[in-house]
């Protein structure tokens, strides 16, 4: 499994493999050290010299055009932790530059530094060739840098114009002039923003465009987008990418933070990868594969995808019939949030629920967990009627629960890990005996979970809040799996989790599935849904409106159904499927096999892809 190594100028950012002595010599020592955690066969990642965002170490680029942003040797230490270490990134003007890295790799800190929210301890920032120092975001804005945060910062009860003008009143006033300017920007970059609409009437994608416009209105020429696609469905992502291309054509520089590999590959002109707080390499999106990128981010070879044989049995595990829930919304009007939901999950089956967030997924989960009272319907687990039972009894009956919001529903943040291990299973061994707790047993078992599930922590007495998101999630999964669940409800199990932990989590779910676990999977990540599920149902406005076989559907068609545009059984046409397969195959190129497995419609996500003859044995 070797891909060609494109020759290139002395590699600064991507150290070659240790066997290749010569080029190793021109690396600073700490880079060598830093790279050594990667396996030996790690050199075959295609890094090309064609990457324009590239200049030999330390010096400002001597190329024809000055770079829009040059970060050199950025180091940021927080007491006890080095968040960024010797980061070098060059962003060319008028390009979309993707910044990739696992959660906690230091992307956010770096962008906060660039946006003036934090000061670097070492290193320099040059904007358009000029050395600058930012002490507040206002300094950065004055230099033409704008940031669109992951969570929108818009006032719902104001119009688009009012939101854009808010805080920038001195620029073009608040009247007709401002509106004209907004129109102008909107037309110039093809944003299609309607200035007089109330923000509360806008969808997520429109809100995002308003945010972008807000930043452009303030004169930004360098745009930082923090995980902009996290909240969008595929069609909206495509629209956003069209916008980005328009922006680029108008000379705006876009820095795009993401860890979704195929998105980065499709839109970026250059890619920088950050791992453990330092730049580990730049990659050319035209030659690098998704799998190679993932490996760069994780710093280790990912587990190979395996043959997926159907483990679905004929035994019913969960049966939900005629579920209906109405509850009052914010205005106090009674709304039907779930209507006539019926589904069955068999032993060994993963049922995926696709849907735009807020269409009843959360309520469905809470209804099955017994956290919401039902207006009608029944829930049966393994022949046992759970309808009248409370949450605890349902958990004891064998429902494992990976909640959507782990901070609100899955953890006691200020409690030590071993107490978090008890949470949700207080009445079960090894956490209690009779009515008494068994702290010793819980501690022992927490230690086991920490080891088996690779929860990175210095000990089990630290609070859950001190772990990173991925490690918190691993602890939750370890806890839920430790009680031999019959049904696992996994709501966005890999949200906010880095690629390495993601692969691990998927593998854990699969191996439990092989042992007969039934899984209800809810995810906004369609690739995850298609890759993991045996059956997919689409939820729209509280109803299950469509179903699909993951082997014969593409993410795009699923996305269409999620907007309510398609109903019944959806099946993608053969061409689109083949194309998706090709993308998936590219992802597994390094593994030496083309994707033709049941999950071929899936993605670039490594474990989601197709068969690998060597694995799964």
């Amino acid at each position: 499994m070797r891909t060609t190594r494109t020759p290139r100028a002395p590699s600064r950012s991507r150290p070659p493999d240790p066997e290749l002595g010569p080029s190793r010599a021109d690396l600073p020592p700490q880079r060598i050290l830093q790279r050594n955690d990667a396996p030996d066969d790690h050199e075959e990642i295609a890094i090309t010299g064609s990457d324009p965002a590239h200049s030999p170490g330390g010096l400002p680029s001597a190329g024809t055009a000055t770079a829009a942003v040059e970060l050199r040797g950025i180091t940021k230490r927080f007491p006890g932790v080095v968040a960024n270490h010797d980061i070098d990134i060059t962003v060319e003007r008028g390009t979309v530059h993707a910044l990739m890295g696992e959660n906690g790799a230091g992307k956010s800190t770096l962008m906060k530094i660039l946006y003036g929210m934090q000061k670097p301890d070492e290193g320099t920032i040059a904007i358009n060739g000029e050395l600058v120092e930012f002490s507040t975001p206002a300094d950065a804005i004055a230099r033409g840098i704008g940031m669109v945060h992951q969570h929108f910062m818009l006032a719902d009860n104001l119009t688009v114009t009012e939101n854009v003008v808010l805080g920038g009143e001195q620029l073009y006033g608040i009247g007709a002039k401002a509106k004209a300017k907004i129109k102008e920007i909107s037309d110039q970059y093809g944003l299609g923003v309607r200035p007089d609409v109330l923000v509360e009437d806008l969808g997520v994608a429109d809100r995002q465009r308003v945010e972008i416009l807000k930043v452009l209105y303030r004169g930004a020429k360098i745009l930082i987008l923090d995980e902009p696609t996290a909240v969008l469905v595929p069609q909206e992502v495509d629209a956003l990418f069209d916008n980005l291309r328009d922006l680029k054509a108008e000379g705006v520089t876009v820095i795009f933070i993401s860890h979704k590999l195929h998105e980065v590959l499709s839109v970026a002109d250059a890619i920088s990868v950050i791992r453990r707080g330092t730049t580990v390499g730049d990659a050319d999106p035209h030659t690098v594969t998704a799998r190679q990128l993932a490996e760069m981010m994780v710093g280790a070879e990912l587990p190979s995808p395996e043959t997926r044989e159907s483990t679905v049995t004929a035994d019913e595990m969960l049966r939900v019939e005629g579920l209906r829930i109405a509850k009052p919304d914010a205005e106090g009007i009674e709304r039907v949030v779930l209507d006539d939901i019926s589904l069955t999950i068999h032993k060994g089956e993963i049922l995926g629920i696709a849907g735009v967030e807020g269409n009843g997924q959360a309520e469905l989960v809470e209804a099955i967990m017994g956290m919401l009272p039902l207006d009608a319907g029944a829930v049966t687990l393994d022949g046992e009627d759970l309808t009248p039972k409370l949450t605890r009894a349902r958990r004891e009956a064998g429902i494992g629960y990976i909640p959507e919001d782990r901070h609100r529903h899955g953890l006691l943040l200020e409690a030590p890990l071993w107490e978090n291990r008890i949470l949700g299973h207080v009445s079960e061994s090894p956490n209690s005996k009779g009515f008494l707790l068994d702290p010793a047993g819980a501690r022992r078992d927490t230690q086991r979970i920490v080891e088996e599930y690779d929860v990175r922590t210095p000990g089990i007495e630290v609070t859950a809040a001190s772990l990173s998101g991925g490690n918190q999630q691993k602890l939750i999964i370890g806890r839920e799996m430790s009680h031999d669940p019959k049904l696992l409800i996994a709501a966005h199990p890999t949200r906010g989790v880095d690629v390495g932990a993601q692969a691990q989590i998927w593998e854990q779910i699969r191996s439990a599935q092989r042992e007969g676990l039934a899984v209800l999977l809810i995810s906004a990540d369609l690739d995850e849904l298609i890759g993991l599920s045996d059956t997919i149902r689409v939820i729209y406005r509280g109803r299950l409106v469509a179903d699909a076989d993951p082997a014969t559907v593409t993410a795009e068609d699923l996305g269409t159904a999620m907007t309510g545009a398609a109903r019944g059984h959806i099946e993608s046409d053969a061409d689109a499927l083949a194309e998706a397969q090709a993308i998936a195959a590219e992802g597994t190129e390094a593994a030496g096999d083309a994707g033709d497995g049941p999950t071929a419609a899936a993605s670039d996500e490594p474990t989601d892809t197709a068969d690998d003859p060597q694995a799964g044995e």
């Binding site: 956290m371 949450t391 008494l436 609070t463 809040a465 001190s466």
Partner: protein, 385 residues
């Protein structure tokens, strides 16, 4: 990723604990010192020598009669603190301790005056009566919260006012107070409780030490045991830390609210009993008011833990007892003690929050640093290998 070496692990744990204790102590100690300084300044401004005042208090606190008085009062304050703390541990703000203890004590006094069983039965009867009444009164707030969404803060404050009215109503001669000639004076009060209702006391050189102190200790031990060792206690703490997580984990939050409100009220019902069964032997207008609010302060200062409450109850009792000496010995205003108690509570609330945030942040950094060190060590190992 965890250290396979158990010794290393334990030493790490010890370090965390040591620091936690230090952090835990820092806040109350600082708060007490700060309030002493503030009161000293106040005294100095009013033209008195603060050191003399502190000397007077200290002298009385170290005298044996002062000590007995302090301990007796500590008993009452400790029970009051536990009553409030039990609710606080679940984020239930039971302001109604005041009303609960008054009603509990009134009914206990009435039962004690009407029933005359052998002491082994009589005393438990009075305890249970007081707890039942306190718990029932508190359950009103719990039920309102669960079924009507009424904030327990509002309802318990109102129930306090209602409790005062109810006590007034029941103490009318002919109901709980004797019809005529019950007392030698015109004070309205219940008939004295029977001899068998008297709780044992330990005679000391400084006076009688309330045997009820042991009941207080039992309450403290049971409190600690329930919270840290039982499933119920875990559910309660989980609900206090995050109601949403507790609900998702299967805690029946509604039932927990009612249960803990009732338990808090039941403990509150006992607050008036040391005085009733060891000193006054009847319930009348002379019953000490405001014990419920002192209990809230004591619980805050004691951080809602049984040990902490013991220390803070002791401190508050000492200040109260020693404060009574101030006007007698040198014309100091006794009110300075109330000022001191107030400033302690304000300072301690601020200090705890600061320490909590600092501790959380510090641990996050520590974990980050340790993981980084582990990663570095692993990398080094690979280099050498």
């Amino acid at each position: 990723m965890t250290s396979p070496n158990p010794a290393a692990k334990r030493s790490l744990r010890e370090r965390f604990d040591g620091e936690r204790i230090l952090l835990g102590l820092a806040a109350p100690v600082l708060a007490v010192l700060l309030s002493a300084v503030i009161c000293g300044v106040l005294l100095a401004i009013s033209g008195k020598n603060p050191f003399d005042a502190f000397q007077v208090m200290w002298d009385y606190g170290t005298a044996s009669d002062g000590q007995v008085l302090t301990l007796n009062r500590t008993t009452t304050y400790y029970i009051a603190g536990c009553a409030a703390a039990f609710g606080f541990r679940m984020n239930l703000f039971n302001i109604g301790v005041d009303g609960q203890y008054k009603l509990g004590a009134l009914f206990a006094a009435y039962v004690g005056s009407q029933v005359d069983l052998p002491a082994v039965l009589q005393i438990p009867l009075l305890l249970v009566t007081a707890m039942l009444i306190g718990g029932m009164w508190a359950s009103i707030a719990g039920l309102l919260k669960v079924y009507r969404g009424v904030s327990e803060v509002i309802s318990t404050i109102m129930l306090n006012a209602i409790a005062t009215a109810v006590v007034g109503l029941l103490l009318v001669p002919g109901i709980f107070a004797p019809g005529n000639g019950g007392g030698s004076s015109n004070a309205i009060q219940t008939a004295p409780i029977s001899q068998s209702s008297h709780f044992f006391a330990i005679p000391t050189a400084g006076g009688d030490l309330y045997g009820f102190l042991f009941i207080a200790i039992v309450i403290g031990v049971a409190f600690q045991f329930t919270l840290s060792r039982t499933k119920f206690g875990f559910d309660l703490r989980a609900t206090g830390r995050s109601e949403t997580a507790a609900k998702a984990s299967g805690v029946n939050v509604k039932r927990m609210v009612i249960t803990s409100m009732v338990v808090s009220g039941a403990i509150a019902g006992l607050i008036g009993l040391p005085e009733l069964m060891q000193h006054s032997y009847y319930f009348g207008q002379s019953i000490q008011p405001g014990l419920g609010f002192i209990g809230i302060s004591v619980a805050l200062l004691g951080r809602n833990t049984p040990i902490g409450i013991a220390f803070s109850a002791l401190l508050f009792a000492f200040l109260d007892v020693a404060g009574t000496r101030l006007p007698l010995r040198g014309d100091f205003p006794q009110e300075i003690v109330a000022v001191m108690q107030g400033t302690i509570v304000i300072c301690v609330v601020v200090a705890y929050e600061l320490v909590r945030r600092y501790g959380l942040k510090r641990q996050q950094q520590k974990v980050g640093a340790e993981l980084a060190a582990q990663a570095a060590a692993a990398a080094k190992k690979e280099v050498s290998a």
